[in-house]
């Protein structure tokens, strides 16, 4: 069962954006149900596939209902006004539609993929700089993501999510400050001990298979 979190909205104050006390008391009791996370991701992966293959508007509406409010929340915590967050959120969801063919379930969960799109829009809208992007590694017309990689990655993603959500409050807040843009790279040394090991090696394996398939 998923615990319901307190939903205090971020509050603006002179020093930037604060998060009230939304994680106190509830957070430490949070127990994330792995099976539920895996099943949810399987569902979103299938929906993205329907958008990619048949421009399925009902599937998109389901994705929208789940991801749009989360994307908007992320953008507002990163410093966007509500109207800018709304505008960027729409851009993010349009990109989900137009780039559905680039989603690779052997290297990212649906949430992770949507996060990267939202992060890119955040840079474009809030930082007004050019955004250097790595070369894409895309599956060729004949190669498909390895099914075993997809299955294992979804397990690893759920494990990572569980670990992140169950971190002690202080560490979790530090990580949020990194991702919402309050810590510079020189300050990140404070963030230690993220449980990245298994998911990192899983993604690495998927990349090796992909390189192999590309010949």
């Amino acid at each position: 069962m998923l615990t319901t979190y307190a939903t205090e909205r971020p509050t603006k104050h002179a020093g930037g954006i604060g998060y009230g006390r939304r994680m106190i008391s509830v957070r430490n009791e949070t127990r994330v149900d792995m099976e539920e996370k895996v099943a949810a991701n399987d569902n979103w992966v299938a929906m993205i596939g329907k958008v990619r293959d048949s421009k399925d508007r009902a599937a998109f509406a389901a994705l929208f209902q789940h991801f749009a409010p989360r994307v908007k929340s992320f953008l507002m915590k990163s410093g966007a006004s509500e109207s800018l967050a709304d505008e960027c959120m729409q851009d993010v969801m349009v990109t989900l539609w137009t780039k559905a063919h680039l989603f690779d379930a052997s290297r990212a969960s649906a949430s992770t993929w949507v996060f990267t799109i939202a992060r890119n829009k955040k840079i474009d809208a809030l930082r007004k700089m050019r955004r250097p992007e790595p070369e894409d590694l895309v599956w060729g017309p004949e190669a498909e993501p390895d099914a075993a990689d997809v299955v294992t990655l979804r397990q690893e993603s759920a494990k990572l999510t569980k670990a992140i959500l169950e971190l002690p409050q202080k560490q979790r807040e530090l990580i949020e400050r990194v991702y919402f843009g309050e810590l510079s790279h020189s300050e990140i040394a404070k963030v230690t001990g993220l449980p990245l090991g298994t998911i990192k090696s899983r993604i690495r394996l998927a990349l090796e298979r992909l390189r192999h398939a590309m010949g």
């Binding site: 939903t7 508007r57 998109f60 929208f64 209902q65 749009a68 409010p69 989360r70 994307v71 908007k72 929340s73 992320f74 729409q90 969801m93 349009v94 539609w97 137009t98 780039k99 680039l102 290297r107 990212a108 969960s109 949430s111 992770t112 993929w113 949507v114 996060f115 990267t116 992060r119 890119n120 700089m129 050019r130 250097p132 992007e133 790595p134 070369e135 894409d136 590694l137 993603s157 990572l160 999510t161 992140i164 959500l165 990580i175 990194v178 843009g181 810590l183 510079s184 790279h185 990140i188 040394a189 963030v191 990245l196 998911i199 990192k200 993604i203 690495r204 990349l207 090796e208 390189r211």
Partner: protein
């Protein structure tokens, strides 16, 4: 294709802090250019980046609910109907420069507009929107870069050839991460000119007298 992406050859990688900042979208533009270029060449760092992005995905998935306007979905569908098709980035197959650098150069190595800066060293400044300074450097085989220090963090990514300095040998795909306390004197290996992408967040300071006099004129 000159790049072998089976990066068993890459020995010097991005730091965790740089990868995490890149994943969070908070890195200065010049540093992000080095990061994106190195990741294009290094699967180990690509995997690490993607795991940091997974952390971002977990945080976003757990975000608090916010109010959505009622017509948000409808408005988005209207944008989708008007959206142009996505065009993939086209890269030459026999390229020397990785994709992100090509985007700034507007082509491959042969399109770089070099300027001589003395001693056979050439540079081409890549325009960034923020305070970071990004440039391509070409150091003649066997020659030394002028000895310099710099205000903050300096990232140097080798694109072709190799150099050595106090920290070891750096070949194609390797990135050197140097803090402001480091005085280093990279020397290009014999046999091939060394081409690298160097980024600082402040102008370089040269120790020798003549380069310092020349500095305001050549813009290093």
């Amino acid at each position: 294709m000159p790049w072998d992406n089976d990066m068993s050859d890459v020995k010097h990688h991005l730091t965790e802090a740089l990868l995490m900042s890149y994943a969070a979208g908070t890195l200065d533009e010049g540093y992000a250019l080095v990061a994106a270029s190195h990741i294009s060449l290094c699967d180990a760092c690509r995997a690490e980046l993607q795991s940091y992005e997974a952390v971002g995905g977990s945080l976003m998935d757990d975000a608090d609910a916010v109010h959505m306007s009622e017509d948000a979905l409808e408005a988005t569908m209207a944008l989708i109907d008007a959206a142009p098709a996505v065009r993939p980035r086209v890269l030459k197959s026999d390229r020397v420069l990785p994709g992100p650098v090509q985007d700034y150069v507007g082509g491959d190595l042969s399109d770089v507009r070099w300027r001589a800066v003395g001693g056979g060293v050439r540079q081409a400044v890549l325009k960034t929107g923020d305070k970071s300074m990004a440039r391509l450097l070409s150091i003649p085989a066997g020659a030394a870069m002028p000895d310099h220090s710099h205000g903050g963090l300096e990232l140097t990514l080798v694109l072709k050839g190799a150099f050595r300095d106090e920290d070891g040998r750096f070949g194609p795909g390797d990135v050197e991460v140097a803090t402001e306390h480091v005085h280093h004197t990279p020397i290009a290996e014999e046999g091939e000119d060394c081409i690298c992408l160097a980024v600082t967040d402040a102008p370089l300071r040269f120790k020798g007298l003549i380069p310092r006099i020349a500095q305001p004129f050549i813009g290093i």
